[in-house]
């Protein structure tokens, strides 16, 4: 009968033997009843059988087998026992009247209660778990299993399932067996689909058994019948009520195992699939164990609740990774959203994610660009997850304050913003409207009354600082709003633009022009005036350069020099280098400057060597080397051209600068194998590679400037104002010159500034200024004075400034 079942350890013969053994006892239906009270008689009977059962449980045969198999045999045995018991009970009721029947039932209940000790319950749990796993295994692989189930269950499983689906509002495409079966199978999980893990050898044994059953429809039919009859036995023997906890434990284990299999599978929708599977299992159990379709389903609600709880637990714990994988993990986000909305655990989720981010992201090991990338993904993910942005607000706060404390945040954002393949660039180009400074933060603007899709803020939003602008803002403006002012971004962009323009050697700035136009869209025209001037300088330089090269051709000059002429006031700080330029270079410069000055009278060029670059072809005894170098490096080489063997002191004297300055330039040539150190601070040109000593050095080397392409910068000295507004040192110097006493008075202020920064964290200049104004009597410091004073304090290492914010060291 159970030939194909996984639970065939106890043969028919075994059971018959045991039953016979019991029946062979003296029949209590006769005389003994008369003397004893019925309760006592049945009680003693139950005790006796208990001993029998105990014996059965410890029998070697059963003790060796897997728990689920044992339980199935045990059930069959109980069934036989029940038959015997009923006959006793009937005998008793014949003698002592109908009410003894009830006492008999009670005694059976007591017996069952005694028999169901922890070991038997463990068997039962295992049996149900394995059977349900097998059912699921077969259903997923063989659609016909549904038909078998349907016929095995009295009230019809298909009809029940349809009812469940209608109740939950799920759309069922068709109402046939195959439609339900199809909804249980996901396209890409057939290969690894199993509810059991492989680590346990007994489990993998079981898997093989499942596979065998699932491969043959006939065997499925037998297995399903077998399982159904087992369940019916549970009902007949009145075990269900005693063991409901155990039964639901088995269902829980099945749900947990199924959920666990979906770990890290973020690219496919999992929740619906899991739901349909769990519903199938739970409905089957309800039908088998809880009676007719009208009865209250017990397992269905329980299993669904367990599924939602476990699945959301899993995905919440994975949320950090899901965000990293975005947008590949969209499906996981949709699933999680369904769970969280159902369970109302939005806030718990937000806090767990915040902790994960604090532990895994906001530490010194993560680069700023990683943090930014994760923040941007988090913005996009959490917007999907929670359109009200409440979660985002909770999660973003530590990220934002952490980013604010990092020095390179602004430059990272700007780099990202202008690189054309980044997402931020799309935001920049979106024309989403000009970003405002968030001076007005904290003012919640009225919602748009005409907006039909308006929804009230969820209850979770309580206590969460949220403004309407921030809720609707795009990613770029959210990033900009990390800082209190957008000026820091504009300044960083200016620096970035200056770098790019100075690095370009052919006056072509199409890309940069496009970037500036884009920036204007989002940051406003007026804030980018400096950048406009910079672009115009490049265009003007191109024209000037053309003019110079035409003039040179007329006068038959050799003019490999091209200059970028910038208006100093509008460009970020330009480093200066002081050294004597070799006369070849100086000649070229004078000619260039002369032509320029004739073109623009009353203007003078001032060369900035630190920014130029020279392309050199160095012809040595055995090789020719092409190198692109800085003007100072080139100048050192020119010095070697005159004296191939020389010392550091001589070089420094020749170039009219410090020895340290020369040394680092000499090292540049040393690493390229052009120069070598013969003695401490004595150098010579390496004419032939591999040679050593002075024998070759006698030959004069001929390093020659092949193409000198020096980009230099100059300022129109006619423009009067000759101060560099990016260097705060200069500005403070001016202030100090004007009034030393004032600076001393400001020194007293430092205690106040310290008090403010210590209690309120990093702040921008204007906040410090307004606080001083409010709480220091007779205070009338101007912004400029304060700025230079704070710069002075920064130089004294008491403060530092990052991203427009001052903070204490």
């Amino acid at each position: 009968m159970y030939a194909c079942s996984p639970f065939n350890t106890l043969s028919e013969d075994d059971i018959q033997r045991i039953v016979q053994q019991i029946k062979a006892r003296p029949n209590p239906a006769g005389a003994p009843w008369a003397g004893l009270s019925v309760e006592k008689a049945i009680d003693s009977l139950a005790t006796e059988y208990r001993g029998e059962l105990q014996q059965l449980c410890t029998a070697k045969r059963i003790g060796d087998s897997a728990a689920s198999d044992v339980f199935h045999g045990f059930l069959q045995f109980l069934q036989s026992l029940n038959g015997v018991f009923c006959s006793y009970s009937e005998g008793a009721s014949r003698i002592c009247g109908a009410e003894q029947r009830i006492i008999g039932d009670m005694a059976w209940n007591a017996l069952i209660y005694q028999v169901l000790d922890t070991r038997v319950l463990a068997w039962m749990e295992e049996w149900l778990y394995v059977s349900l796993s097998c059912v699921l295994h077969c259903v997923v692989r063989q659609p016909s299993t549904i038909a078998h189930l349907n016929s095995a269950v009295d009230s019809g499983i298909v009809a029940r399932l349809q009812q469940v689906h209608r109740d939950t509002g799920a759309v069922v495409v068709g109402f046939g067996n195959s439609a339900i079966a199809q909804s249980l199978v996901s396209e890409n999980d057939t290969e690894s689909d199993d509810t059991l893990d492989d680590s346990d050898p007994a489990q993998s044994e079981r898997r093989k058994l499942f596979a065998r059953i699932a491969s043959d429809p006939r065997q499925i039919g037998m297995f399903v019948n077998d399982f159904a009859s087992g369940c019916r036995l549970l009902v007949t023997l009145r075990i269900v009520a005693y063991a409901s906890r155990t039964l639901s434990n088995a269902v829980d284990r099945l749900v947990d195992a199924n959920v666990q299999k979906q770990a890290n599978r973020w690219d496919t929708p999992c929740l619906d699939l899991l739901l349909t599977r769990v519903r199938l299992v739970a409905t089957t159990l309800d039908a088998l164990l809880c009676g007719p379709a009208t009865a209250q389903p017990f397992f269905l609600g329980h299993a669904e609740a367990r599924l939602y709880a476990k699945f959301s637990e899993l995905r919440v714990s994975e949320l950090f990774g899901i965000i990293i994988d975005y947008p590949d993990s969209r499906q996981a986000i949709a699933d999680l959203r369904a769970c969280v909305v159902k369970l109302r655990t939005m806030r718990q989720m937000a806090h767990s994610l915040r902790n994960a981010i604090q532990q895994r992201l906001l530490h010194p090991g993560a680069t700023t660009s990683d943090i930014l990338t994760q923040y941007i993904s988090a913005i996009r993910c959490l917007r999907l997850l929670d359109p009200s942005s409440t979660v985002l607000e909770i999660v973003a706060r530590p990220i934002r304050s952490y980013l604010r404390s990092r020095e390179d945040t602004v430059s990272c954002i700007v780099q990202d913003m202008v690189s054309e393949e980044s997402e931020l660039f799309e935001d920049l180009a979106s024309g989403h409207g000009v970003i405002m400074d968030n001076g007005a933060e904290g003012v919640v603007y009225d919602e748009d009354y005409a907006d039909k899709s308006w929804e009230p803020l969820p209850i979770e939003a309580k206590n969460v600082y949220l403004t309407a602008q921030r809720r609707d803002a795009d990613v770029l403006s959210l990033l900009v709003s990390i800082y209190e002012t957008k000026d820091v971004f504009v300044q960083e962009f200016e620096r970035h633009l200056a770098q790019r323009l100075l690095a370009c050697t052919d006056y072509s700035a199409e890309r940069e022009i496009r970037q500036v136009e884009m920036m204007k869209l989002r940051f406003g025209d007026r804030t980018l005036e400096k950048c406009e001037v910079m672009l115009k300088d490049v265009a003007d330089s191109k024209r000037t350069d053309q003019h110079v090269s035409e003039t040179s051709q007329e006068k038959h000059w050799d003019m490999p020099l091209h200059a970028l002429i910038v208006s100093r006031q509008f460009w970020s700080s330009m480093p200066k280098e002081q050294f004597a330029v070799p006369h070849e270079m100086a000649d070229m410069r004078n000619k260039y400057a002369g032509t320029y000055e004739s073109l623009k009278p009353a203007r003078k060029l001032e060369w900035r060597d630190a920014l130029g670059s020279v392309t050199l072809r160095i012809e040595l005894a055995d090789r020719t080397v092409s190198v692109s170098a800085k003007p100072a490096q080139a100048a050192v080489l020119f010095a070697f051209q005159e004296t191939p063997v020389t010392t550091l002191a001589e070089l420094a004297q020749k170039m009219e600068c410090s020895e340290e300055f020369v040394l680092s330039r000499v090292r540049f040539w040393q690493t390229r194998g052009v120069v070598r150190e013969t003695d401490a601070n004595a150098f010579e040109v390496v004419e032939a590679e591999g040679s050593s000593g002075n024998d070759v050095a006698s030959r004069a080397s001929r390093p020659a400037a092949g193409l000198g392409n020096a980009v230099a910068s100059g300022a129109g000295s006619d423009q009067g104002e000759d101060y560099d507004d990016d260097d705060e040192g200069d500005a403070s110097g001016g202030a100090a010159g004007a009034s030393n006493a004032r600076t001393e008075a400001l020194r007293v202020h430092f205690n106040f500034v310290e008090g403010i920064l210590r209690n309120f964290g990093p702040l921008p200049l204007d906040r410090i200024l307004s606080m001083l104004g409010m709480f220091m009597p007779g205070e009338n410091t101007t912004a400029e004075e304060l700025r230079s004073f704070l710069a002075l304090m920064a130089r004294e290492d008491k403060l530092e400034m990052a991203g427009g914010l001052y903070k204490l060291k």
Binding site: G755, N759, S770, M771, M774, F775
Partner: protein, 154 residues
């Protein structure tokens, strides 16, 4: 809304601020919030040599409109695990309650609080768990640091 600020109270707080700023004491600091002279933010470092060494706590100081005749209300904003501080930051300190006197000022209060951190009074606890552990300073420190790490460093 808070009542209009009395000129005398403002003057008193102003001078307290000035003397606090000029004293520039290590480990204690406070400053009014930008909108209201009656609400200050304070910062307290644990005194060296105590279990609270190296930990920093933010305080909220709220002055009554008849200050200094009534004590200010002072609470820990940073969650503080301490026998005399409850989980909402309320502090049990006699000079803030029945022993208040108009001669106290922000500076003395902050100094008292700093002392209280390192020298608790487990006899009148607001936080029973902390009070019980107080005598075992090594274990106390372990729990304290765990609490600080979990709640305060956010």
């Amino acid at each position: 809304m808070s009542a209009p600020l009395d000129a005398a109270v403002a003057k008193r707080l102003q001078s307290e601020l000035m003397s606090l700023m000029m004293a520039n004491l290590k480990g204690i600091s406070a400053f009014p919030q930008s909108d209201n002279m009656l609400n200050w933010v304070g910062t307290l470092d644990g005194a060296p040599g105590t279990v609270y060494e190296g930990l920093t706590y933010k305080l909220a100081l709220s002055f009554p409109s008849n200050y200094p005749f009534t004590a200010p209300t002072i609470t820990f904003v940073t969650p503080c695990w301490h026998p005399n501080v409850d989980d909402r930051g309320n502090i049990c300190l006699d000079i803030l309650k029945e022993q208040w006197s108009a001669v106290y000022n922000v500076q003395t209060i902050l100094l008292s609080l700093q002392t209280l951190l390192g020298d608790a009074n487990p006899q009148s606890p607001l936080n029973g768990a902390a009070a019980q552990l107080w005598d075992n300073q090594a274990e106390y420190k372990r729990v304290l640091l765990k609490h600080y790490k979990e709640h305060a460093q956010q």
